[in-house]
């Protein structure tokens, strides 16, 4: 049984605490992984989608959702890992992009913004070192102005 009066909005607020294990400053909600929360009489249904299909972080994310809800006394939780909609970087919120940049990862560019800026110094003179970085969702870049290497969160659409 789920406690009476519990709203999806409350659960979503609790789940802001669940961050991407690889980028611990961005919540799974701001990343677009958390798609929906539904409350039935018996349980809380949490619907998530993977970023990349082989992303190993999905297991950790599911554990953390359970743990976070357990801390709020909620133990009847059904986590559904969906294949649709297909995740894309347009699902990352403005708050998520800002957090990513502060953390030193260049956020994915949008259609109107063709240049990848260095998250350190803001320079637009950057070059791709490798099409893959520390995880499948990132590429490795270097800033030609401050010479620092940085991760770029790849545009995926």
């Amino acid at each position: 049984m789920v406690m009476s009066g519990l709203t999806a909005r409350q659960v979503l607020a609790w789940l802001q605490a669940v961050k991407d294990p690889e980028i611990p400053v961005i919540s799974i909600q701001d990343l677009g992984v958390l798609q929906a929360v539904e409350i039935t009489n018996e349980q809380i249904v949490v619907k998530i989608i993977p970023t990349y299909s082989g992303c190993p972080a999905m297991y950790v994310i599911q554990d953390e959702i359970r743990q976070t809800l357990a801390e709020h006394g909620q133990h009847e939780v059904d986590i559904q890992l969906l294949n649709t909609p297909a995740w894309n970087t347009d699902m990352i919120t403005a708050r998520g992009r800002a957090a990513m940049k502060l953390y030193g990862i260049a956020p994915p560019i949008s259609a109107s913004d063709q240049v990848i800026q260095c998250p350190q110094c803001g320079s637009e003179k950057t070059t791709c070192i490798s099409q893959f970085g520390s995880t499948a969702c990132k590429a490795l870049y270097r800033c030609e102005s401050c010479l620092e290497p940085f991760d770029y969160f790849k545009c995926h659409a």
């Binding site: 299909s53 082989g54 992303c55 190993p56 099409q131 995926h156």
Partner: protein
Amino acid sequence: MNQDLYQFALRLADTSLTMGQRLAEWCGHGPYLEEDVALTNVSLDLIGHAQMFYQLACDNSETSTSPDDLAFLRDVPEYRNPLITELPRGDFAYTTLKQYFIDVYHLHLYQQLSVSSDEQLAALAQKALMEVKYHLSRSEAWCQRLSLSTEEAHEKMQKALDDLWFYTPELFETDESMQRLMTASVIPDMGAIQTVWQQQTEQLLEDCQLAKPENGWMATGGLVGEHTEHLGYMLADMQFLQRAYPGCEW
């Protein structure tokens, strides 16, 4: 129809799993660190695709099974991948060209599958397609970079082409089960996929100044479970843990 879709899902999954496993063998052996990371990232994507398609197979299976069971508890004659994906990884030129051939194949196949009359298959193909596009931009760039650089690199690419070319027609083979799916618009006409695949790859070979081998012997067998000796060794390595400790998890 379910049995046909089960068999086709295995074809897709086995192809991605064997590709992913061979790429994973590069871990720690890439030509330099960034490339080592790229090879295993592509491997991870492919194993992710395999997992999705094994799930599709499970959902269409007459008996109760799981993606892990399908990957780890089937033996060589039950695998349905084309022979090209099980060949030993070879050198970096060989891995690169094989990757390019499979990326172009996946690009056109998944593009068509993403409008399949089977909604679940369409959704999975669409998801995989987004990742394959990125794989292709990398493997294509590497083919050009290697072929048009030193004499030695060009020679290795030509040798890889001479070895691999005769394994490519098998990618487009069909059996009765696939033909039923084609009639029902679940899967596209593989002949049409072959035509666009050939146009695209032959253009790249020309750009790379690589000579396409004369037509000759063509590999076949994956669809009926007749494999090269290499697959047995791969499965022995990959399946060891589940065979030695059945049901083991961590």
